[in-house]
C-alpha cells in the first residue's frame, strides 16, 4: 500500500509540474503574439495619420468563424485586422489570398502582404492592401476560395484618428 501511495504522489506531482510548465509556455507565447499585434498597429503611424474603422463583421467559414475586426487606413496602405476561431486545433493557417477588399467605386484593392500568429484555437493577423483613394461610404469584403464564397458590405463609420 505504501509503495502505491508513493508512486501515486510521484505521478501526481510530476503531472502538476510538467503540465504547469507547459501551460506557462503556452501562456507566454500568447502574450508575446498579443503584444506584437499592438506593435504592428503602432508602427502604422510611420506613414502619417492613421484612420481606424471598427468593423466587427463575422463570416462563417465551414464552422470556423472569421472576424473582420478593424480596418486601418494610412496614406500608403489599407490594413485589415482579422481573427479566425477554429473548431479544432492544428492544421493550416488561414489562406489570406481568399480575402478581397473592394472600395466603394467597385475597384479591388491589390493585396501585398500579410502576417499572422496563432492564438490557442485559431489565429489573428493583418492583411495589407493598397491604399484607398476613396475611403468614403462603405467597403465590400469578399471571400472567394474554391467553391466557397461570401460577400459583406460594411459601412465605414470613423472611429477616431491614430492609435
Amino acid at each position: 500500500m505504501r509503495i502505491v501511495a508513493i508512486a501515486g504522489t510521484i505521478i501526481r506531482r510530476s503531472i502538476i509540474v510538467i503540465f504547469g510548465l507547459l501551460l506557462i509556455i503556452q501562456a507566454v507565447s500568447l502574450i508575446v503574439s498579443n503584444s506584437s499585434d499592438k506593435e504592428f498597429i503602432k508602427s502604422l503611424n510611420h506613414d502619417g495619420p492613421v484612420t481606424k474603422y471598427t468593423l466587427n463583421k463575422k463570416i462563417d467559414m465551414d464552422g470556423d468563424i472569421f472576424t473582420a475586426k478593424e480596418l486601418y487606413l494610412t496614406s500608403k496602405k489599407t490594413v485589415l485586422h482579422y481573427s479566425i476561431s477554429k473548431q479544432d486545433p492544428g492544421g493550416w493557417s488561414f489562406p489570406n489570398s481568399a480575402i478581397k477588399l473592394i472600395n466603394s467605386n467597385g475597384e479591388e484593392l491589390m493585396q501585398h502582404s500579410s502576417s499572422s500568429s496563432s492564438t490557442g484555437r485559431g489565429e489573428t493577423g493583418f492583411i495589407s492592401f493598397n491604399e484607398m483613394n476613396e475611403p468614403l461610404g462603405s467597403i465590400t469584403l469578399k471571400y472567394e476560395w474554391y467553391d466557397r464564397q461570401a460577400e459583406i458590405n460594411i459601412p465605414l463609420a470613423k472611429d477616431g484618428e491614430g492609435q
Partner: protein, 195 residues
C-alpha cells in the same frame, strides 16, 4: 476526512485540470492519431473539400498520400508522421481540372530530411481514350555526373481517372522529360515535353 486526504484530492484535481487545460489549447506537438484524421484536419483547416478519396497511397511508413477529387478540382493531400502523431504535409489545395486538355497534372518536390526527398507527379486524365500514363525522367548517374540515365514510370488509368508517381528523389536528381498518355493499343495519343 484527514488533512492528508484533502490535500491528496486537491492535488489530483489540480493535476487533472492542468492536463485538461493543456489539451484544450493548440498543441503543435501532438498531431492526429491516424493518417486519415490528419488528412481530414488538413482539408477542413484549409477550407477545401471534403474531397472524394480515390486512392490512399502509403509511402515508406511515415507518409500517406490521399488522392482525391472535389467538384472540379483534384488534389494529392500528403500527411506526415512526426513523433507519435500525423500532421498535414502539403498538397491539400486542389488543382483545377482543365477538361479541355486530355490530362491535367501537378507536381511537388519536398526535401524532408537527409535521406528523403519526396517527389510527386500526379494528375487527372479527362480523355477517356487514355488508359496508361507514362512519365519519362532522366536521373544523374552515380559514377558519372555528366551522363544521365533515362527512366520511365507508368501507371494504368481506371475509372477514378487519377494517377500518382511517387518516389524518393534523393541522389537521383530527376529531370522531368515528358509525360505521355497511351491508348489501349499502346499508341501515344497525348504527349507533353518539359523544358
Amino acid at each position: 476526512m484527514s488533512k492528508k486526504t484533502v490535500i491528496l484530492i486537491v492535488e489530483w484535481c489540480i493535476a487533472i485540470l492542468f492536463v485538461f487545460l493543456f489539451f484544450r489549447g493548440y498543441n503543435p506537438y501532438m498531431g492526429s492519431l491516424t493518417p486519415t484524421k490528419a488528412h481530414e484536419l488538413s482539408e477542413r483547416s484549409y477550407h477545401y473539400g471534403p474531397s472524394k478519396i480515390v486512392k490512399v497511397v502509403p509511402f515508406g511508413g511515415n507518409t500517406t498520400v490521399y488522392l482525391g477529387v472535389y467538384k472540379e478540382w483534384f488534389s494529392s493531400d500528403t500527411v506526415i508522421k512526426r513523433g507519435l502523431g500525423w500532421h498535414p504535409g502539403g498538397g491539400v489545395g486542389g488543382v483545377w481540372i482543365d477538361s479541355s486538355k486530355p490530362l491535367t497534372y501537378s507536381w511537388s518536390v519536398s526535401e524532408r530530411d537527409k535521406k528523403l526527398t519526396l517527389a510527386q507527379f500526379y494528375g487527372y486524365v479527362s480523355d477517356p481514350e487514355i488508359t496508361t500514363v507514362v512519365l519519362y525522367t532522366e536521373t544523374d548517374s552515380v559514377d558519372n555526373k555528366e551522363a544521365r540515365t533515362l527512366s520511365t514510370m507508368s501507371q494504368e488509368i481506371n475509372e477514378d481517372r487519377m494517377f500518382l508517381f511517387i518516389w524518393n528523389d534523393k541522389d537521383l536528381n530527376s529531370h522531368w522529360k515528358s509525360i505521355q498518355g497511351l491508348d489501349q493499343e499502346g499508341k501515344v495519343v497525348y504527349e507533353e515535353k518539359f523544358n
